[in-house]
Each structure stands twice: as structure tokens, then as C-alpha cells.
């Protein structure tokens, strides 16, 4: 008997298994192929805008993705450095061999965690409570909670032009029965689609016709705990090239052979807009003369290059033709062809914000199976599903991250409140409090939670608190120091350049000038740097953007008040008089936990919210009268 079973060994499954095991629960991970655990089946990169911040949030909570990426990266860049602190994010090229290998090592070493290679066909459910799983060979394994993280494997079908076959990614075995059994339990399923481009042999490319894209010259790490960073000299570059008029001509002439443009009669699934195939780009943006193609190295050990920007479901011979019209790829050797994949997913509105299903208690979902896309999104949900399953077994309050606390919170709230029509991808534009959800302060936002639930140990926690103290002490100190308008100071200001002082000024005020950095201040004070880079970065951001941060915190205060107005789970919306029919239907479907969440459901109007609040107050007072 296990506490928790995680079905699936992808990025969601790894975090969903590790978190509870580290919290002291007995966990079983079941995967159809142990060697494929933590495989990067699409592009070899981790992070990017919004996504990179999720990776840091996972780290702050005590998850594994950040540390594993740091161990496995072959290139790392800080993006949006020319912009404000709210939108900067790290992105790594991860080695496709090292990443799964390092993650597997961590999993195998993890106490309380068992890994089983098997195919799950069904769930054991009694009185709407999940009790375990049934394997393909009819063997039953019992557990207190089950987390489903099956990615794109449910009834997966691979498509290349008109050729389609049942298959998971990279010819892996798909799960044929689990989704029908979920349907039988009452789950509403939907069909989604995604794709992956071709890979070409590393030595068949003429790089002289491309533009080199090196990594950053300064070292970076995702994890707050990573101390040894791979030397920047060992980084592998990416390359940029473009499609040509000829590429477009070939694609246009063969468009009817694309599985998305008519080669297959009935495509029920919807692909993501942010992951369009090259034929889609050419049809929808017909006037664009060229599209960017990034050539990304997959691994130090595999001589393959990933063609970012060239997803397609055109037949192999057409792929051969058009890829060779791209500068640098004229004589390339295609190692693997592009394909599209279609799979079953559940409508995420069937889940509570804890990621537990509303239909079956103790059953959780995370990752692509509930309609997202991307490794980071999957991992972010995986850790939350794992944490909440564990907390429930431990009889503790669940952990629901709010929209003002984490991108993970934004993502889960979007999914369970609004549902999806295409695979969901995180974008910075989805967050209303972007300036608060920075990549530099993920630990400040979330480490406390990680510690409280037992995923952050005392040592890491103490280190974190020291950092907080250093930042606050330094800000207080800068408030109390004045800088005088003496010649040496003004001469130095001129070199920055910044206008000279006319009268003495508080150091903190001087730091508010856009061109002045914390280092400048330390220099003017004739001091040695005592803070770490991370700490001085915090000091700078808190001082320079104080006004904006304050304004946003005021908005958050209003927002939080509505998030604290709870709605009882057993409320029957159909019985509320005066509520508009659309609101009744939407509210019954989503069953929001708070007034704030109810308000975000599309189709629920302010007057519906007003009526709901009056009803809840009535309900509350009646309840009290009954006692």
C-alpha cells in the first residue's frame, strides 16, 4: 500500500513523485518506459519568459527542475536584460542525454520513492474516492491518492501527412485504455494536438550561412542553491537562419498534403496558436517573405540539431524538399522527420485549484493531460499536485498559490477557472501583477511555503533568511547615510554620467536615479561590496521601482479581499433565485472556491456576483440560525 501513485514519468510526474516522497510519504511512480523518464521530447530548452520564472518558483518551493537544468545545461541566457526587472527570465539549452540521466539519478536515489515500469489501464475508485490503479496485466496497486501525469500519451496518434498511427511521442507505446476509463468515470475529455519539427545531422549543416547565437558570457543558474556553475566556455551556441521564397513555394504547392490542411478528413483536435506549423505560418501570414529558424543543439552526445520554427505535418518527401531550400541546410541529412501528435486531455475545469478532481476524490491531474503545453508548465503543476495530494493525506490545509504570488498560481487559476480551447502556454501577459512575479524574487515569494510544507530544509531556510536580513538592513542603512556634494563625488558622478550634486542627498534617493547602480553608491561611500549580486539586485529593484511596486501592492490588497471571501463547496447554484441562467450554468461547472475566482469566470456579470454575495450571506445567517 502506497500513499501516492504518480502515473507517468515526464516533467509533471517527476515533481509530483519527488515532492511527496521528500515530505515523507511513500510514493510509487509508474512509467511505461523507465529510460524515458524526464525525457525532453520536443525542443531541448528549459525556461524563457514566464516559463523561466516558473522554473525558479519550483526551486523556491523545493522542486527539482531548476537544479536538474543547472546540472544538464549546455547554454544559458538571461533574456530581456534591456527591459525592466519584471520581465527578465533565464533560458537554458539542456542536454537531452544529461537532463533525463541526472533526473533519473535523483529519482532512483530518493528515499520513499519506488519506480515501476508498467502500463496503467484503469483506476480503482470506490464511492467516488480513488484507491489505486489497475495495470495492463490486471494487477491492482492500492494507494491513498493518485496523480495522473500521462502527458500526450492518452490515445495518442502520430500524424505525418495522411499517414496516421497509434503511437506516443518518438514511437513510444500510447495508453489505449486509461482515457476511456476516465470517460466512464464521468470525465469530459477533449482532443488536443501538438507537433515537433525535424532533426538534422549536426555535421551536415553549413554554419557559415547562418548567424551564430552564443550563450551569455556571464554564468547563470536557475536554482537558488546551485553553487557550481558550468564554465561559460563549455557552452554550445545556437544558430539562426531563415526560410526563403522557395521554401514557401514548395509548402504552398503541397499544402493539401498536410494533415492539418485536408490530408486527413476529420481532425477533431486543436493545435496551439503559439506552436503553429510552418504551413500554418505561411498560410496565415502570407505576406511575410521569411520566417526565423533556430538551429539548436540537442546534446553533446547526440549529433542532432533541432530545427526550431519548422513544425509540420507534411509528408517526408516534401519535408526533404523544403528544408533543403533553407540557407545552411542545402545538403543537410534529416535524422528524424517532423510529426504532429493528437491526444486525449481532460477539461481542466473539472479540477479544484488544488488540482484534485471534483468528480473523484484523491485523484489529481497535472501537465499536458489537463491541457497545457511545455515542460515548465507541466513541472509547475506536477509539484503542486504532489504537494496537495501529500498535504491532504497528512490532513493539512492545501496550498493554493494566488495570482499575485506565482506564475504557477496564475496558470492553475486560469486553467480551472476559464478552461481551455487549445493547449495552454504561460505568457507574461497572462499575469496582472508581473512586476511582483519576478524571476529574481521567486524565493522571497515562495520559500516560506516550501519550508512550511517540509520541502526546504533548515539549512537552505536559514540561508534564505540571512539573505532577507541583508537586503532589509542594507535598505535601512542607505536611508540613514547622506552623500555630500564634494568634488570627488561630483567628479565620479560625471564619469557615470550623472548630474552633479548641489546639496547633500540621502544615499537611497541617489540610488533612485535610473543611471545609478548599487555598485556606484558603494563606490561613492568608499566601501567594499558586502552584499551578494542577488542581494544588491534586490536592493536596487526595491528602491528604484518602489512607486510601481507600492501601487501594485495596493491593487493586490483589493484583489486579495475577494480571494478571501470563500464560497462553500456544496452550494447549489441552481437554487439561487434571480441568478442569470448563464451564470448558474458556468458557476455550477467551475464551482469557484472564492468570490474572486467566481468573478473571473467569463459570462458571470457583476450583478450575478452581487446576487451571489447576498445569497451567501443569507445562507450563512440561516446556517447559524439552525444551530
Amino acid at each position: 500500500m502506497y500513499d501516492i501513485i504518480a502515473i507517468g514519468g515526464g516533467h509533471a510526474g517527476c515533481e509530483a513523485a519527488l515532492a511527496p516522497a521528500r515530505m515523507g510519504l511513500k510514493v510509487l511512480m509508474i512509467t511505461s518506459n523507465i529510460k524515458r523518464i524526464a525525457h525532453l521530447s520536443c525542443n531541448p530548452s528549459v525556461g524563457g519568459p514566464a516559463k523561466g520564472i516558473v522554473v525558479r518558483e519550483i526551486d523556491a518551493l523545493g522542486g527539482e527542475m531548476a537544479r536538474n537544468t543547472d546540472k544538464s545545461q549546455i547554454q544559458m541566457r538571461l533574456l530581456n536584460t534591456g527591459k525592466g526587472p519584471g520581465v527578465q527570465a533565464l533560458r537554458a539549452q539542456a542536454d537531452k542525454v544529461d537532463y533525463p540521466r541526472n533526473m533519473q539519478e535523483t529519482l532512483f536515489k530518493q528515499e520513499n520513492l519506488t519506480i515501476l515500469e508498467a502500463m496503467v489501464d484503469d483506476l480503482i475508485v470506490e464511492n467516488n474516492i480513488a484507491k489505486g490503479v489497475v495495470l495492463e496485466n490486471n494487477e491492482k496497486i492500492y494507494a491513498k491518492a493518485v496523480v495522473i501525469t500521462t502527458g500526450t500519451y492518452l490515445k495518442a496518434r502520430i500524424m505525418i501527412s495522411s499517414e496516421t498511427r497509434e503511437s506516443g511521442p518518438d514511437n513510444e507505446r500510447p495508453s489505449k485504455n486509461l482515457s476511456d476509463n476516465l470517460r466512464r468515470l464521468g470525465f469530459k475529455m477533449m482532443r488536443l494536438k501538438t507537433g515537433t519539427p525535424a532533426r538534422v545531422a549536426i555535421d551536415s549543416i553549413d554554419y557559415s550561412k547562418t548567424i551564430i547565437q552564443p550563450g551569455d558570457p556571464i554564468p547563470h543558474a536557475f536554482s537558488y542553491d546551485t553553487t557550481v556553475i558550468k564554465p561559460v566556455e563549455e557552452q554550445l551556441p545556437c544558430y539562426l537562419t531563415y526560410t526563403t521564397e522557395e521554401t514557401h513555394r514548395i509548402i504552398r504547392e503541397n499544402i493539401s498534403k498536410s494533415s492539418m490542411y485536408g490530408a486527413i478528413e476529420h481532425i477533431e483536435s486543436r493545435g496551439p496558436r503559439y506552436c503553429p506549423s510552418i504551413e500554418d505560418k505561411i498560410v496565415r501570414f502570407a505576406d511575410k517573405p521569411r520566417h526565423q529558424i533556430f538551429l539548436e543543439p540537442e546534446s553533446k552526445y547526440i549529433p542532432e540539431i533541432y530545427l526550431q520554427g519548422l513544425s509540420t505535418s507534411l509528408p517526408r518527401d516534401v519535408q526533404e524538399q523544403f528544408i533543403r531550400t533553407i540557407p545552411g541546410l542545402e545538403n543537410c541529412k534529416i535524422v528524424r522527420y517532423a510529426y504532429a501528435i493528437e491526444y486525449d486531455a481532460i477539461d481542466p475545469r473539472q479540477l479544484w485549484p488544488t488540482l484534485e478532481s471534483k468528480l473523484v476524490e484523491n485523484l489529481y491531474f497535472a501537465g499536458q493531460v489537463k491541457g497545457t503545453s511545455g515542460y515548465e508548465e507541466a513541472a509547475g503543476q506536477g509539484i503542486m499536485a504532489g504537494i496537495n495530494a501529500a498535504l491532504k493525506i497528512q490532513g493539512k490545509e492545501p496550498l493554493i498559490l494566488k495570482r499575485n504570488e506565482a506564475y504557477i498560481g496564475v496558470m492553475i487559476d486560469d486553467l480551472v477557472t476559464k478552461g481551455i480551447t487549445e493547449p495552454y502556454r504561460l505568457l507574461t501577459s497572462r499575469a496582472e501583477y508581473r512586476l511582483l512575479l519576478r524571476h529574481d524574487n521567486a524565493d522571497i515569494r515562495l520559500r516560506e511555503y516550501g519550508y512550511k510544507i517540509g520541502l526546504i530544509d533548515e539549512e537552505r531556510y536559514a540561508k534564505f533568511h540571512q539573505k532577507l536580513r541583508n537586503i532589509h538592513n542594507e535598505i535601512d542603512r542607505l536611508k540613514s547615510i547622506r552623500i555630500n556634494p564634494i568634488k570627488t563625488i561630483n567628479d565620479y558622478l560625471e564619469t557615470i554620467p550623472s548630474s552633479p550634486l548641489r546639496e547633500s542627498v540621502i544615499a537611497l534617493e541617489l540610488l533612485k536615479r535610473p543611471e545609478i547602480t548599487y555598485e556606484h553608491i558603494i563606490h561613492m561611500l568608499n566601501e567594499e561590496m558586502r552584499l551578494t549580486t542577488e542581494e544588491s539586485e534586490q536592493v536596487e529593484i526595491e528602491v528604484k521601482y518602489e512607486g510601481y511596486i507600492k501601487k501594485m501592492l495596493q491593487q493586490v490588497e483589493k484583489f486579495t479581499k475577494l480571494e478571501e471571501k470563500r464560497i462553500p463547496e456544496d452550494i447549489d447554484y441552481t437554487k439561487i433565485p434571480n441568478l442569470a441562467n448563464e451564470a448558474k450554468q458556468k458557476l455550477s461547472q467551475v464551482r469557484p472556491l472564492t468570490i474572486g475566482q467566481a468573478q473571473r469566470i467569463s459570462g458571470v456579470n457583476p450583478s450575478d456576483i452581487a446576487i451571489l454575495m447576498v445569497y451567501l450571506e443569507t445562507y450563512r445567517r440561516r446556517g447559524r440560525n439552525d444551530e
Binding site: P49, L427, Y548, S607, V614, R622
Partner: protein, 452 residues
């Protein structure tokens, strides 16, 4: 939405001499204090009525003479702080006050919201709950039909166009952020952003200006002609009417004010009140009394004060000059074809003409337009926004863009500047009642060819 401060005109519009504007919420006293000249409302006792003036915080001009009741939490209808402003200046002035309060951060109350709060704050018992819900429902339907009617098609198109323009800016910034390597979108910098924001600011300014003009054009200017007997009031009236005879009729307005005639002068409607006083040959001050004259003057939005060039100023002239000194007025010295005996040096700004001359009408028309900043109405785009809530939102959007411009001056990064730009976009969206969420993301993917 529960803890913010709400405001509404709580008397039926257009009926009754006094209108009451009521606010409820934590910031009620703060907000009213910003436009109230009189006692410090923060310091007055609870449940007191306080005399003073509502002023326009931009230029400190007086908008209305008012009585303000302050009722502090918890012994109030909603149990929150409540402030009630008793306005005397008629429906237009009341609307103006509402508009100011909305601009300063109060939110227009939803239908039944005062009662809803009273219930949620346990001021009303359970038996009344159902009626509260009925009230919300009924009023919502009513409000919806009104809202649909008030938003003119041209106005909503104008706002939509502006929003599109702002969305274009936001989308470009967002693309730069979410797809930093995507090279097809221009890289938004403060240099590119600045002229675009200034352009939108100018458009908003134009709308706000037009809103003022629009009100005047639609509602007309309540005008009274005053002066001693025989100074030329009737000739002025006739001159103003020009060819358009017989417009002066006895039409009772829907309000208490007896609008007695309309004159269209170069596109501006003057609503004449108290025309009886004009035709009366006796001394008006003596006959109808100072009180009545005061009342008429107080009600009017424009006073045409006629003086006789041929006579020295009398006691009555001085009285009228004093009574009208805080109002928008045009002092007209008539009969300049006669010998000048009037003490011009004792008069403030005035115009001189003869009602017998053809150009008199043009001179007065020009002066009215100058006074009300109407410009050349015929050449103006006749798109006007009249709803106070809409005007307040446009003003908020305008202020946000000013903040954005300020941030550019302070060399803030473009995504920080965007915070205020986005705010402006959301404020304008609230006028149309559009949802924010997916909008932007749709724009991103329809405009730019993104993705791996």
C-alpha cells in the same frame, strides 16, 4: 468591489430643486474633501450638515454651493462612512460633481448596491434579503437598457479605435517580452513610445473637450437677460432672434425651470429663462424684488447684463453687477451710437455695441463661444460623450497615460511604462464593458507570427 467607495445621485434626476449625491465607503470623506471648500470634513462631528462649496480641483473654480452631511461608520445606512452632498445647481451641475467624484476614485454604484451593502454589513435583516436580490435584478435590467442607449454608436467606435491603437502598442511591447528573439516586431523603446502616447493623449483631450461642448450643445445654456428698464433688453432679444421669429413660446420644461424660449445662435442653444422680466417696463429690482432676481441669476448659466451707454451707472446697475460677479456673464454696453455718459472705467470686461447694428449678434455670439470655449462648432467632430461615468473613465485613462509619459521622462524601462499604458487601456475598456483577459493574447497571435 466590496471595500471600495461607491457613489450615485440618489434623487430622481430632473425632479426637485435639490439633488443629493451620496457616497459610501472607506474613502468617502477623503474623496469629497478633495473638492469641498468649507470646514475640514475629516474633523467635523458625525451626523452633521456642513455648508460650503464644491470646487474644481484643477482650477479651484466654484461649481456649486452645497450642504454636505457626514455620517461616520457604523451608525449609517450601509454601516460604512457615508457622505451626502446636497447640490443646488440643477442637473448639469450635479452631473459635474458626480463626474469629479468618479474621477477621484469613487466607483459608480451598481443598481441596489447601497442596499446590498447594508445587507452584507448586517444592517438589514434576513427577511429583506430576497427583496435586495429582486432590486439588484430589476435595476440591472433597467440600467442595462439605459447603458445600451446612452453609448452612442459613434462614441463606442471612437473608444474602440483608441483602444485598438493602445492595444497595438501593448501587443508590440508584449511580443518583445515574450518572444525576445522574434525579429519581425519593432523593438519598442521609449523613443518610439513617446510620440504614440502623446498622440493618444491629444485624442483623449479632444474627446474631453468635446464632452464639455457636447453638453452645452445638447442641453443648451440657461440664459437670462438682465438690466434696468429701457436699457435695450427687448432689442437685444429681438436682435438675437434675428430672422428666427416666434421661437419664444411658453414651453414648460420637465424640470422646475420654466424655459421660455430657445435661441440658436451660431449652433449654440440659449435657453431663455424669465423673459417676463425683459418685457416688464417697471424697475425689475423694485417690482419682483432682490430675492427673485437673485434666484433667477443663480439658476442661469449665462447672464447677459445690459447697460445703457447714454446714462451714468445707477444703484440698480451696481446691484446687478454685484449679483452676477461670480457667474459667467457678458456685460453689454448698449446704445454706443448715443453719447457716452457711462463710467466705463468702473466696469470689468465688457463689450460695446448697438442693438440697432447688424454686427451686434456676431459680437455677442463670439463672446459666448469664447466664454464657453466652444470654438467653431460647425467644424467640430460632433462626437460627444455625455455620461459622467464615461467621462470619468476617459479622464482616468488620460491620467494614466500622463503617468506613462512621466515614466518615460524618468527613463523607466518600457515594460514599466507599459503598466500605465495598460491601465489606460483597461479604463477605456470599462466604458465598453469589455473583458480584458484573452483579448491581448488574441491580438498577439493574430498580429505576429509567433511560435517554435
Amino acid at each position: 468591489m466590496i471595500d471600495d467607495t461607491i457613489v450615485a445621485i440618489s434623487t430622481a434626476q430632473g425632479i426637485g430643486a435639490i439633488s443629493i449625491v451620496r457616497l459610501s465607503g472607506q474613502e468617502a470623506i477623503d474623496i469629497v474633501s478633495k473638492i469641498f471648500k468649507g470646514k475640514d470634513l475629516h474633523k467635523v462631528h458625525s451626523h452633521t450638515i456642513n455648508y460650503g462649496h464644491i470646487i474644481n480641483p484643477d482650477d479651484n473654480s466654484i461649481i456649486d454651493e452645497v450642504l454636505v452631511s457626514v455620517m461616520r461608520s457604523p451608525k449609517t445606512y450601509t454601516t460604512e462612512d457615508i457622505v451626502e452632498i446636497n447640490c443646488h445647481g440643477g442637473p448639469l451641475v450635479t452631473q459635474k460633481i458626480l463626474e469629479l467624484l468618479l474621477t477621484l476614485g469613487a466607483r459608480l454604484a451598481e443598481p441596489g448596491e447601497f442596499t446590498k451593502r447594508a445587507f452584507l454589513n448586517k444592517r438589514i435583516d434576513l427577511a429583506q434579503a430576497e427583496s435586495v436580490m429582486d432590486l439588484i435584478e430589476a435595476k440591472t435590467e433597467e440600467a442595462l437598457s439605459v447603458a445600451v442607449n446612452t453609448l452612442d454608436g459613434r462614441v463606442s467606435r471612437l473608444i474602440k479605435e483608441l483602444r485598438e491603437e493602445i492595444l497595438g502598442i501593448i501587443a508590440t511591447i508584449e511580443v518583445n517580452i515574450d518572444y525576445p528573439e522574434y525579429d519581425d516586431a519593432i523593438v519598442m523603446s521609449n523613443e518610439i513610445l513617446k510620440p504614440q502616447i502623446i498622440d493618444i493623449l491629444q485624442k483623449l483631450e479632444h474627446i474631453l473637450e468635446a464632452a464639455k461642448t457636447g453638453k452645452i450643445i445638447r442641453d443648451g445654456i440657461k440664459t437670462v437677460i438682465v438690466g434696468r428698464p429701457n436699457v435695450g433688453k427687448s432689442s437685444l432679444l429681438n436682435r438675437l432672434m434675428g430672422e428666427e421669429r416666434a421661437i419664444v413660446t411658453d414651453i414648460a420644461g420637465t424640470t422646475r425651470d420654466l424655459i421660455e424660449g430657445y435661441i440658436n445662435i451660431g449652433g449654440v442653444v440659449l435657453n431663455l429663462i424669465d423673459t417676463a422680466g425683459i418685457r416688464d417696463t417697471k424697475d425689475i429690482v423694485e417690482q419682483i424684488g432682490v430675492e427673485r432676481t437673485k434666484k433667477v441669476i443663480n439658476e442661469a448659466e449665462l447672464i447677459l447684463l445690459v447697460l445703457n451707454n447714454n446714462e451714468p451707472l445707477t444703484k440698480d446697475d451696481y446691484a446687478l453687477l454685484e449679483l452676477t460677479k461670480d457667474k459667467k456673464r457678458i456685460i453689454i454696453i448698449n446704445k454706443i451710437d448715443l453719447e457716452s455718459r457711462i463710467e466705463k472705467d468702473k466696469l470689468p470686461f465688457h463689450i460695446e455695441t448697438s442693438m440697432l447694428a447688424d454686427e451686434a449678434r456676431d459680437i455677442i455670439e463670439a463672446e459666448i463661444k469664447r466664454l464657453f470655449q466652444l470654438g467653431d462648432i460647425k467644424n467640430k467632430d460632433l462626437t460627444y460623450i455625455s455620461n459622467s461615468r464615461h467621462i470619468a473613465k476617459i479622464r482616468n485613462a488620460y491620467d494614466s497615460l500622463r503617468d506613462a509619459l512621466q515614466a518615460i521622462e524618468e527613463a523607466m524601462p518600457v515594460d514599466i511604462v507599459e503598466i500605465d499604458v495598460k491601465d489606460a487601456w483597461m479604463r477605456l475598456g470599462e466604458i465598453l464593458g469589455e473583458e480584458v483577459g484573452e483579448n491581448l493574447i488574441n491580438e498577439l497571435f493574430s498580429k505576429f507570427c509567433l511560435g517554435k
